[in-house]
Symmetry: C2
Subunit: 231 residues, 2 copies
Amino acid sequence: MPSYTYSYPRPSVTVDLVVFTILDNDLKVLLIRRGQPPFEGCPALPGGFVLAGTGGDDRGEDLEVAARRELAEETGLPEGSVYLEQLYTFGAADRDPRGRVITVAWYALVRPTLAPLVMAGGDAAEAGWRSLTEVDPDSLAFDHGRILRCALERIRGKVDYSDIAFELVPETFTVTELRSVHEVIKGTAYDPANFRRRFKRMQTDGVIEQAPGRRTTGARRARVYRFVGRG
Amino acid sequence: MPSYTYSYPRPSVTVDLVVFTILDNDLKVLLIRRGQPPFEGCPALPGGFVLAGTGGDDRGEDLEVAARRELAEETGLPEGSVYLEQLYTFGAADRDPRGRVITVAWYALVRPTLAPLVMAGGDAAEAGWRSLTEVDPDSLAFDHGRILRCALERIRGKVDYSDIAFELVPETFTVTELRSVHEVIKGTAYDPANFRRRFKRMQTDGVIEQAPGRRTTGARRARVYRFVGRG
DNA sequence: CCAAAAGTGTTAACAGTACACCCATGG
DNA sequence: CCATGGGTGTACTGTTAACACTTTTGG
């Protein structure tokens, strides 16, 4: 067993992931079930240690690389197919009973088309995609409940002024599908007519473009669109 | 010299501070001058190591406590008199030539009434309050230029929809003083009449209340106000 | 046919913008 | 008295919100 010695104490650093998707008009988060103590058997956020490198030339991995590695390990989804953003760093001295652990939390958004490909890890009752209407944040291990609440706050705030909603629809989508994403995240109903107008503005601004074909989500076949981005 | 041994390598964790104030209608940032290599003599952001604790019962200090401690050490200002918020965590593997160091960056806002009390550390040419019009971010040590840019982006974005501008005026202030803060941060001029209307709305919403007395900033004595907060 | 979603139109309220204008005061 | 900032009014514009309405299609 190798060992690493320093002249000052150092904390462990981990990354934790709040992975969201939308299935059945419902916001879901990816949870695992802890196999070891502490909090054995508890639901928790996926995460792991940041590789720090053995010293000298080996510096380990960038923080974002660590987050992407964990994301790939936990979801099995291909690199680059998932939106990832840093959330906040949690560093209360007593947040982990095992010792001093500082965690850099990230949130990720998985398209509903990819979500079913995520293999549920072990116990399906507590691991895998869990509806946020059922999950009690306070039942999560460590301070993961707080992290989850922080992530919810973030996406609820950002959905209005950023493009994150486009990360939670298929590559092509209808106006109603995009509206549904906004409604699920914000928890409020939007006027279809007014939402359509906002949508049209994005289209004239070149943020969205019409895609070939139509799709039947409700009663009538709707036009489908594609997100092309800003700038 | 004590030593601390772990079975896996661990990074050092630091906190870095981007401390802003406004003096002479100019946004300023607090810089220090590095006394040791690497980047000896370079301007840099104030910061320091997070105390991790020796293990067992001693877990060290909370991350936010570390940031507040550094803030107090670098500014000499009393606890609680300065606004502090976590910014972002920077963890590129090669960001520090000495080894693996992950830094949690914070930004702080110091009222102009307190700013002169901050003792300039050593060389006044590069340490102390430095105007952002003069500072070249790329001249800073480590990745501090990137951190500074990130902090600027944050406050420019937040000043519109949050209450951070009130942290950069004296306890009581005139409409023009508050407008000036917005102008300095955003780098654009605001119409005094229109700003006043926004201001009045805040007053009727109870966010602001009139304070006793008047003050002469320009030609005419202006009413002074106090921020009382929301909710 | 009918329920339900797709899609259009209309209106009032409101906040942002631009700009003209009077008031008070220190120099 | 006059330059300067304090302070008010107004007209225009674009966005949001509420809601009535027509069109299409699956069952």
